[in-house]
Symmetry: C2
Subunit: 293 residues, 2 copies
């Protein structure tokens, strides 16, 4: 058995898609197929029910997934502790992250990290995915956190978290929008989105394309440079925004915003760590493993 094979299985099981797993793990789809087939051969049982393109876990698959999570956790702990032993866990760690991650994901992680490793001096560069990758290549940062869409050669990506963009409206405005809408309804609605060049708009663009809609078809009232601006704007205007779920947990909890489901148009993205290829170990890896647990 080999741990990458387990990671492949885990990814397929979580995404319920060979293709998505391939994207997430940066390998080809046939490679995924083969790994799963090898596993199925090894255990002499099917792990997925293939009903055409729909796949579902079998009992054996569910059992494997449980153990899988456990074993992969163990591996992570092992890596982490070996890393602690190797490094002196002091010095500087220069991070770079794209906007959503830097604003909504990292703060609690950074707090936890500095509490655990007070000797490490952290810095955080803010920029879009491209800028973060360039900073990495120029040696201005040690570890990047980006939306893993465009894979640059020479960089090594490892999956971190999943993110979902959702349409939201104010609960107090006068805009009449049902709980669920169809992608075709979007062009008729007044929208506030992030600016061109942002990862967020990219994801929206690609999701629309799947339904034959172009960004230019939309009725975009305004492009704003940050999610915070959009959220605040929404509370004072009768329009709809599309933002990361991770940015609106408080607003949802307090009932100031509500999600409008766009039927069969998931706006999914993966957050990844990025490092220079061959830069194994060191504080960067310590941080990665710490953030994952």
């Amino acid at each position: 058995m080999n741990d990458f094979r387990l990671k492949v299985f885990q990814s397929v099981a979580r995404n319920l898609s060979f293709t998505k797993a391939a994207r997430e793990l940066c390998v080809s789809q046939p490679a995924i197929t083969k790994h799963v087939q090898e596993l199925e051969a090894a255990y002499g049982m099917r792990l997925f029910e293939r009903q055409g393109s729909r796949i579902a876990l079998t009992d054996a698959g569910r059992l494997l997934l449980e153990h899988c999570e456990h074993i992969l956790d163990d591996y992570r702990h092992l890596e982490f502790e070996m890393n602690l032993l190797r490094n002196r866990c002091a010095g500087e760690l220069r991070l770079g992250a794209s906007t959503t991650i830097a604003q909504y994901v990292l703060p609690p992680v950074l707090a936890r990290f500095t509490r655990r490793f007070p000797q490490v001096h952290l810095s955080l560069l803010n920029g879009n995915s491209r800028e973060v990758e360039i900073a990495l290549q120029e040696g201005r940062i040690d570890l990047g956190l980006v939306e893993g869409i465009h894979r640059q050669p020479g960089l090594k990506y490892t999956p971190f978290l999943q993110d979902e963009l959702v349409a939201v409206v104010s609960t107090r405005g006068k805009l009449r929008v049902p709980e669920e809408i169809m992608p075709g309804d979007l062009p008729r609605l007044p929208l506030v989105l992030r600016e061109k060049g942002s990862g967020t708009l990219d994801v929206i663009g690609r999701a629309l394309e799947e339904h034959g809609i172009k960004l230019s078809d939309l009725h975009v009232l305004m492009h704003l440079g940050s999610t915070e601006s959009i959220k605040l704007f929404l509370e004072h205007a009768d329009c709809m925004g599309i933002v990361s779920v991770r940015s609106i947990s408080r607003e949802l909890a307090e009932g100031r915003l509500r999600v409008v489901e766009v039927e069969s148009m998931p706006m999914h993205r993966d957050f990844c760590f990025v490092r220079l290829q061959g830069q194994e170990g060191g504080l960067a890896q310590t941080f990665e493993l710490f953030a994952m647990s």
Copy 2:
């Protein structure tokens, strides 16, 4: 990472010898060296202190060993449960085991197994290693347990337990023997050993050879056909026996026998499972995994 690599490391760490690990896992010694080197490269740290031929675990090695045991346990559980899911866990399982194993190791395991799987009908064939292997090849048994010395082609061995032969004398006899003796002292002592052709005598023979002593140099009072006979004989005669530690736990606890250490002459042997190659899965594997946990 790959689980066989971890098994290699575990075996080296337990035996504190690359060569012994190679024997235990049925691979060449250079293969072991390479695996350890790969691990050391991966973690960027030495796992073993090499003081010439003596090796010892480093801090990193100790840490890895801990995690290793844990991860390999997980793998075993996984295999076991996948096995339960695949098999109906009923039917017949025909075991074969060589004497020491059948008498001193298996009984509690068999009891535990039938409690857990009452639907399985167990049978146990008794014989020396060679006989067990022949029974396997002739399809008369499904799984063998032998002293893994002579590797037959077409059979697949997996390590089970380690065993040690020790010299013992009665605590009540008149034989004067110090706590520790040298191998050279053995020919002068009256001995009771197992019969020719037994695995036990084989091991003793090879251990003696290491010190340039032949079996025929010994003063063997008697060759007996079972360990039980030897133990009972010792309690009524002033001589020394050489038997498996696994056979004398009660006698040691009750103070009827005592161990005489033979300086720098370990009489070590590995117990292995044996199966026909390509006979993966099934009740045999269920039993193997059950016995290991």
